[in-house]
Amino acid sequence: MTNNDAGSSIAAPAAASSNGTASTSANKDNKTPFTVKAGLAQMLKGGVIMDVTDAAQARIAEDAGACAVMALERVPADIRAEGGVVRMSDPGKIKEIQEAVTIPVMAKARIGHFVECQILEALGVDYIDESEVLTPADDAFHVEKAPFSVPFVCGCRNLPEALRRIAEGAAMIRTKGEAGTGDVVEAVKHMRTVKADIARAKAALQEGGDLAIRALAREFGCDAALLRQTAELGRLPVVNFAAGGVATPADAALMMQLGCDGVFVGSGIFKSGDAAKRAKAIVRATTHFRDAKVLAECSEGLGEAMVGISVNSMKPEQKMAGRGW
């Protein structure tokens, strides 16, 4: 059984209103069934979602085989360089990108900024990323995501954080990593932490059953039913992508071999020398992530990678991953 096979048992979390055998009734009160929200993420698996800032970049991404694009005003590397308060994109930009491509278009909202989310939903974006890359708008609450018809993806550093987001209604999870650095170390750390947490939950369920799960849920500060479901599945109950620092085909394959379902690439593509070539190479590496011969081929002659910043050299307050809880 491969890492990816583990994805086969994905089912809607217990906290959601519907499960794998969804019925029409949920549709009638204009509430999108969780199956439909999580289902789009399942269709993105094995793919690469690319940050783009305009229609031209979106077309390069689509032509390179991106399975979706993330529309934003500035890529994280520029956000980092320029500083200031970073907000949702101009709706005009998002519309321009929606017009340009046929693949799903995602967009970012600030943590806790539910009105930005309402606006993005009205624009008809396919997924909202409630993202730590933007400046948080609420220091106590994330957006209550379940009531929205549009599905949400959220970042995490560990399992408890992921399950808190899923309990709020997130239908897809990604590692936070450290956006805009081109340094994959934090994404790796977050993925390994999630896996170690899942292993603990599995052991707790096996050894102590519900009692141990409840105790662990208290320690984790997360929903016990979702924790139990995770322990039973042996993986997150929704799709989990890598994000934050992926810059090369090898980085993408590394995250896939660690068990991620797919990859977000932010600054890594359009801050590099030959964006189209690098984008294609990362898409190919994500499909053939176990085939070292293919990985060698697609790593060759890509030109300059983004310069990047070593996360080790950063002060804690410079890191975005610490935003949210």
Binding site: S23, P33, G46, A66, Q98
Partner: protein
């Protein structure tokens, strides 16, 4: 033993593998199935039947081309005529023509002599689950219960193509399965399921398309078969209901009996 591959370039391939295994485990058939992921021509070569999953159809065709799989897939579907099932993006990939494709078009394998309309219902906000009557399932059981059909940015069949298809006005944005080899098959396109007109108001995406299948708005074609090729617009692999997988495996078993 019958080897069933699932094209595993991108999308919901692990869900299909899981549903196929579940369906095979609960089947009484005397055929032994082996299920495998397909990412290379060599892996395709050992398969007797193939599932092409949902995903992004543009990604699927680009990665298939990068992986040297386009011609081997056409050979598999149209020359060897092995049983092949496409869901959602897989249905697009198996159609001779597609509209609302990305700028510059996208490569198709073909096999189903139809034209599909991508993202027919619109964006993700228009995705839905609905109970669907699938008459083809009731042949095996007395009265088939409705199937929970999950439509995600789904395509529908917009047009049946005839042999002189290439002379019909082509849309600038459309794609045609490019192949020197003829899609020659005596088999006719069989419509297996229709989504009733509940989404007639939602057809804005289709306005302007020539020759709709059902001008009266009686519904959209969401499941069909032509010879060895089967296609569904929706995602049976996203539900716990394995009846369609079981039905298709029975067709595969019959083809190799």
């Amino acid at each position: 033993m019958v080897t069933v591959g699932v094209l595993s370039l991108q999308g919901g391939f692990s869900e299909h593998l899981s549903s196929l295994r579940k369906a095979a485990d609960s089947s009484a058939a005397d055929v032994h199935f082996d299920f495998t992921e397909v990412r290379t021509p060599a892996q395709l070569a050992v398969c007797d039947a193939l599932v092409i999953p949902g995903g992004e159809s543009t990604t699927l065709s680009l990665v298939a081309a990068q992986s040297g799989l386009i011609e081997p897939l056409r050979e598999f579907v149209k020359i060897s005529r092995k049983p092949t099932w496409g869901t959602c993006a897989g249905l697009i990939f198996l159609s001779e023509q597609a509209s609302a494709t990305k700028r510059g078009g996208q490569e198709l394998i073909g096999g189903l002599n139809v034209k599909v309309h991508r993202n027919h219902f619109g964006r993700q906000m228009e995705s839905f689950v609905t109970d669907l009557d699938l008459p083809f399932l009731s042949q095996s059981s007395s009265q088939a219960a409705p199937f929970p059909a999950v439509f995600i940015r789904a395509p529908v069949v917009d047009e049946m193509l005839t042999d002189n298809v290439k002379s019909i006005g082509e849309r600038l944005e459309g794609s045609i399965a490019g192949s020197q080899k003829p899609p020659a098959t005596a088999a006719k396109v069989e419509v297996l399921a229709i989504l009733p007109g509940r989404h007639a108001s939602n057809r804005k995406a289709a306005v302007g398309d020539a020759l709709p299948v059902s001008p009266g708005g009686a519904g959209d074609i969401v499941a069909l078969r032509q010879g060895n090729v089967f296609g569904t617009s929706f995602h049976p692999e996203l539900t716990d209901d394995t009846r369609i997988h079981a039905w298709w495996l029975a067709q595969v078993a019959a083809a190799y009996r």
